[in-house]
């Protein structure tokens, strides 16, 4: 037997080039088969149907009108929005004090911009938010250092929409953490109460809660006691947001796995420290997309406060549109208000996408 030597030579196969992109001519893309043709024709028909609306909103529209009666054309009366912009954006706030709500909007925007990056999240930022909220509220109230006192019944428009959204989410978040932890807790009373609270609130429509806060609650209070209407509304929104945020957070807690908590306990880390440093940061990171979704929903839900007589952006817009001097500019008003809400909510969505990308990048390397 002669011995043979074998040499194993490995020669990696070079990766194949990706298949050339199929470039179909446009007409084939649009009318290639029956389905494409139907979709294309349908889209064209839809655009054709929308053309009059587009014409109404642009070509035929009245952009400037010296007097309300000049707005009698066939098109949209955007001049009305210009004339009523102050009322829609700032509600009944005294015009001479208008810089205060403007400042409040600016502070909100600054604070939101400052807290965009997850790297700055933490106790210090929470304190900063607390301070900012206090500053905003005192700015709106006034009544000190020469600032005229402005009761909440005069607050309105954009600042109210922003304040209600920010405050309800800010107050609801700690509450929701407590509820989510309570629901996971081993203590039967804490667990029972948390479940009861969450399920009751989730089982009641927000509209019903607003009605209870605005109409029934004052009747239960002792005679001579009234709680500010805006405060009552805020309380209802906060409770509502807390229940939903708690369920979102529970998802994060459950997705975490018991190993993290068990390891911390084995190392002798005290319960609250474990929650604060180990459990919550990971759990929250897991649920950023549903959290932002809840935030968007809450911003839009603040529009419901109109039904209990709070002049938020929608309420102020509707009150503006009742001015009999103008020719029924309801459509224009609602479209304008919708645009404002869209820009706020779309902003949150873009931010959420950016956050998610960041989280994915970190978890992949």
């Amino acid at each position: 037997m002669t011995s043979m030597t074998f040499a194993v030579v490995s020669r990696p196969i070079p990766p194949r080039a990706p298949p050339p992109k199929l470039r179909r001519p446009l007409w084939r893309l649009l009318f290639g088969d029956a389905l494409s043709a139907a979709i294309t024709l349908g889209t064209i028909a839809l655009i054709a149907m929308l053309l009059p609306a587009l014409k109404w909103a642009t070509v035929d529209a009245t952009w400037h009108a010296a007097t309300p009666s000049a707005c009698q054309g066939a098109g949209a009366c955007w001049a009305f929005i210009g004339a009523k912009l102050r009322l829609i954006l700032f509600g009944l706030y005294p015009p001479t004090q208008q810089w205060r709500p403007i400042l409040v909007i600016a502070i909100t925007l600054l604070m939101v911009l400052a807290s965009l990056s997850p790297r700055v999240w933490g106790g210090r930022l929470a304190l900063l938010w607390g301070g900012a909220i206090l500053v905003m509220l005192t700015l709106m109230y006034g009544g000190f250092a020469g600032l005229a006192f402005v009761p909440t019944s005069k607050w309105g428009g954009m600042p109210v929409t922003l304040l209600l959204s920010v405050l309800s989410l800010a107050f609801a978040f700690p509450l929701s953490i407590a509820l989510a932890l309570g629901r996971q807790s081993d203590l039967p009373v804490a667990r029972g109460l948390s479940i009861l609270f969450i399920e009751i609130v989730r089982g009641i429509p927000l509209v019903a809660m607003l009605f209870v806060a605005a109409i029934l609650l004052p009747l239960f209070l002792p005679a001579g006691w009234t709680i500010d209407k805006l405060g009552r509304t805020l309380a209802a929104l906060t409770i509502f947001a807390a229940a939903y945020l708690a369920e979102v957070l529970r998802g994060g807690l459950q997705g975490l796995g018991a190993g993290q908590a068990e390891a911390a306990q084995a190392l002798g880390i005290p319960y609250w420290r474990m929650i604060w440093r180990i459990i919550l940061p990971q759990a929250i990171q897991k649920v950023i997309p549903p959290l932002t979704n809840t935030a968007v929903v809450m911003v839009k839900d603040t529009a419901l406060v109109m039904i209990v007589g709070v002049f938020d952006m929608l309420g102020a817009g509707r009150a503006a549109a009742t001015d009999p001097a103008w020719p029924a500019p309801y459509t224009e008003t609602y479209m304008f208000v919708a645009t404002m809400y869209f820009s706020i909510c779309f902003g949150i969505t873009i931010y959420a996408q950016w956050l998610e990308r960041g989280v994915r990048k970190r978890s992949h390397g």
Binding site: K84, L87, G224, V310, A320, A328
Partner: protein
């Protein structure tokens, strides 16, 4: 242990708050004077009756009732804070003392009278009306045979349509909507022949929503009339009288021919009625806990009822509601000031 401290301090805080409950024995006049302004329930925007203008300043017929009371109590028509209320909220808001006065297109009914609130005196008489296109050639309810009527569900007008239809055997077809705006838009888009609601609302709907208001005609649906009346919380007679006489002052001013422009020419008047009204003869206002010239101040700052009517809902406003039942009795209407004696 920590939890117990927290709980204990919570209990203590609640206890402290409970002992701090103010005694409600104080009269509303004293409470309002201490507070420094009047709190008035308003609508969320009813054209002509109460809506903020472009600067957020409240204007309207109901609004001026509040301002008149503010003038009577504080001598200043702007010492009043308006709390926008929905239709459902208004009664609880008054019952719980959230607002001092409630003039908010509020019809005087028995069941409302029985629920802890007192009505003062009507500031507007209204009736249920139909609006139709002029070219239908219909001018009264009896002519509406077989017509379709746009109506809002849950409103008293739904019953009126039924009643009218049965009364004249008209066979009216109702097209029901669940919100005011939808009902009105449906009418103007031709969904039904007639729109039914309060006549004052019809006038404003015609003014705001019709492309050409002159194409439409409004006529009463029934012979019944409603009295829109500012209300106060029961149990404080002095306060009810103050609101009552503030409204009466507006009508008495019109009856005497005193307006915000010519009031100064009356100060040497020999007419005893004028002298009493303007507080030149002492004793009338003070008996209510007000100043003697409260009525004069109201007229000076706001004008009389006719002036207010004309600028808010009447001929000088876009609504152009006719005086009709809201004229003084001397002009064939129902407005009848009590004697300032």
């Amino acid at each position: 242990m920590k939890l117990r401290t927290v709980l204990l301090s919570c209990v203590a805080a609640v206890g402290l708050a409970a002992t701090a409950i103010p005694a409600s024995a104080k009269s509303l006049l004293e409470t309002a004077r201490e507070r420094g302004n009047l709190i008035c329930g308003s609508s969320q925007g009813t054209p002509g009756f109460g809506a903020p203008d472009s600067n957020g300043y409240w204007r309207g017929l109901d609004i001026d009732i509040c301002r008149a009371v503010a003038v009577a109590v504080f001598g200043d028509k702007d010492k009043v804070q308006f709390v926008p209320l929905t239709g459902q909220q208004r009664i609880p808001a008054l019952q719980t003392g959230e607002v001092d006065v409630l003039p908010r297109t509020f019809t005087w009914t028995l069941s409302r009278s029985a629920s802890g609130i007192d009505f003062t005196t009507p500031n507007f008489y209204d009736y249920t009306g139909f609006m139709v296109k002029k070219d239908l050639g219909v001018t009264k309810a009896e002519d509406l045979k077989g017509a379709s009527v746009c109506v809002q569900t849950g409103s008293t007008t739904e019953i009126v349509v039924e009643d009218v239809s049965r009364q004249y055997d008209l066979g009216l077809k109702t097209v029901v909507f669940d919100n005011t705006q939808g009902t009105r838009q449906a009418f103007f888009s031709g969904r039904c022949d007639a729109l039914i609601t309060d006549a004052s609302a019809l006038a404003s709907v015609r003014a705001t929503m019709a492309k050409n208001p002159d194409d439409y005609i409004i006529f009463p649906a029934t012979k019944y009339m409603e009295a829109l009346t500012p209300a106060v919380r029961s149990g404080d007679d002095q306060w009810r009288k103050i609101v009552f006489w503030s409204i009466e002052a507006l009508e008495e001013g019109e009856l005497l021919g005193i307006t915000s422009q010519n009031i100064d020419s009356f100060k040497d008047s020999k007419d005893p009625a004028v002298r009493r009204f303007l507080g030149l003869e002492p004793g009338l206002g003070t008996s209510l806990g007000l100043s003697d010239d409260f009525a004069a101040n109201i007229i000076r700052q706001l004008g009389n009822y006719g002036q207010i009517f004309d600028r808010t809902v009447g001929k000088d406003s876009p609504l152009k509601i006719e005086r009709g039942p809201n004229a003084l009795y001397s002009a064939g209407g129902l407005m009848f000031p009590m004697a300032f004696e």
